[in-house]
Amino acid sequence: MTRSPLYFALRRFADNKAAVVCGVILLTIILMAIFAPLITQTGYEDQDFLTEALAFPSGAHLMGIDDLGRDFFARIVYGARVSLTIGLSAALFSVVIGIPLGAISGYYGGVADWFVMRLIELFSVVPPLLAAMLLGALTGGGFVTIVLIAALFGWVQVCLLVRAQVKAFREKEFVRAAQALGATPGYIIRRHLIPNSVSPIIVGFVLAIPLAMMLEASLSFLGIGVPPPTPSWGQMINVGMNFMYFYWHMAVFPTAALAITVLATTLFGDGLRDALDPTLKGR
């Protein structure tokens, strides 16, 4: 019975109760988002209940009705779709950008590394939100733009993780053995270094998701994110603030939804990191 390194990682993860719980929560949210039409009675833009606008939660409407007569529960659930899609796509792009840059700068060092580090420095000193706002205003918001902007600020973390891993493994004897066999750097990176970087890559991916979701929610909150009527939690929080004093459900539900999702994803990512490579903990 042969046990690969990943098997042990799964075991360690299963021992971390908090992370498992968060994983379950995350899965629930994802499933709700996927099966949104099945669990909601109306669409997110159907203004069917204008006469009962701003009604409080009840048996018929689990989260009440918003100011434009739409079922709030439906808006929240479809809002999950928006947040999760943007989060996952942006994280995917971050990984696509971050892995090659991290691998190249970690393996070759020297000028390539210097260049990538300067690039990282560039993206570190600019406050991401301000730059995102500028870019958002420039391009007029919109789905794809937000994903790209979020990816633009998310790749740094992935790149640093991969770079550190590649640097550490580069000096190992099995890399030298491959070099002694005449393997090209490209082969070594592909076949040896990146598979051994699976842990940082997974961790980087999962932790990039809440960052992207936060960025989207922030932009939507400020009015330059996902355009209405597509529901976005950030935008709903913005609207909810105006009604906060009397109609608490308008503010609380989107806030709670966002907070829970971001929290669950982050803790899940932390749990993954601890399970995959206990030595990555601490920073």
């Binding site: 042969t2 046990r3 690969s4 390194p5 190992k172 004897e173 099995f174 030298r176 053995a177 491959a178 070099q179 002694a180 066999l181 005449g182 393997a183 090209t184 082969y187 040896h192 598979p195 051994n196 699976v198």
Partner: protein, 312 residues
């Protein structure tokens, strides 16, 4: 009658390596030169085992790495099976790399933890595109059996093996391409005594069977004694003595070599000789006053026995 001189498996001519280390504390980039290896000449004949011994920092590992062109020499030449490989570019070098392989000291980091054993041993075949994937795995399993591992181990991972078993895998990987030269850099240093013996016997068997030449780098003279035909002693980046193994053990001329021999632990207290532990200066002053054209030049004191000399 002129006998054709057989081409040595590996020949190092005047090999030197200098590292430039950055020196701290100044504004302009200044570096200190560290002469790791100076003017090393070695001939490893076909089908022979040469031991390269010395303390840590003597330059023996660097020499081995240069022989494989994993480290680029500052000056000198490397000849493998008669071909000068010193300045070949990557493309020209790749096919020649099949002739020279390596086994490292740390067997754990010498094997990719994410690959199965059969993948590891088959990788050289894969890199040099020999045979179909199925054939490659089959050859790998056969090679593993040859080094003493049952073929069912093929689907296991490195972390599941003991040090000795991992070293067998490393040897299998090194030999699967049938190289002419194997550079073994302290392959037994990290192993228990009993396992050491097994690996040494394995190397001897394989060497005889495959007609392989081995450059065996070690600091452990007792291991070297049981394995090698000739021994070269390195100290401070230079070769200070070189002779047939038994000659070294019986009649070492250089004080450093004698110091190494004295340091070998002896089991029976009655057999312990008077040991001498010398400092560097003492060694320097005791270098035999043998005539030689240059200080530090190797001089032949007997057929096949070279010792470093000083000017009289």
């Amino acid at each position: 009658m002129n006998q054709p001189v057989p081409i040595p498996a590996l020949e190092l001519r005047s090999l030197s390596k200098t590292f430039y280390l950055p020196r701290r504390g100044s504004f302009l980039p200044r570096t200190t030169a560290h002469h790791a290896v100076t003017d090393v000449n070695l001939i490893l004949p076909q089908n022979a085992i040469l031991g390269l011994v010395g303390e840590s920092g003597s330059g023996k590992t660097t020499t081995g790495m240069m022989a494989l062109r994993l480290v680029q020499p500052t000056s000198g030449q490397i000849h493998v099976d008669g071909t000068d490989i010193t300045h070949l570019d990557h493309v020209a070098l790749k096919p020649l790399r099949r002739k020279m392989q390596v086994v490292f000291q740390d067997s754990y980091s010498a094997l990719d933890p994410m690959m199965t054993l059969s993948q590891i041993v088959a990788e050289p075949l894969h890199i040099h595109a020999q045979g179909t994937p199925a054939e490659q795995i089959e050859s790998a399993l056969a090679m593993m059996e040859r080094t003493g591992l049952h073929r069912s181990y093929g689907s296991r991972y490195p972390h599941e093996l003991s040090g000795g078993q991992r070293q067998r895998v490393a040897i299998a990987r090194a030999l699967i391409l049938r190289p002419s030269v194997l550079v073994a850099d302290e392959p037994t240093s990290a192993l228990d005594v009993s396992v050491k013996a097994q690996i040494i016997n394995l190397l001897l068997d394989l060497q005889a069977e495959m007609g392989l030449s081995i450059l065996f780098i070690s600091h452990d003279l007792s291991v070297v004694r049981s394995l090698t035909d000739t021994v070269a002693v390195m100290w401070g980046g230079r070769i200070v003595e070189q002779a047939a193994t038994e000659t070294i053990f019986a009649d070492a001329r250089h004080p450093y070599t004698r110091g190494l021999l004295d340091a070998i632990p002896v089991l029976n207290p009655r057999d312990r000789r008077q040991r001498q532990f010398l400092t560097r200066e003492q060694i320097q002053s005791q270098i035999p006053r043998i005539c030689g054209p240059k200080t530090g030049q190797l001089v032949q004191v007997a057929p096949g026995h070279l010792v470093e000399a000083v000017q009289p």
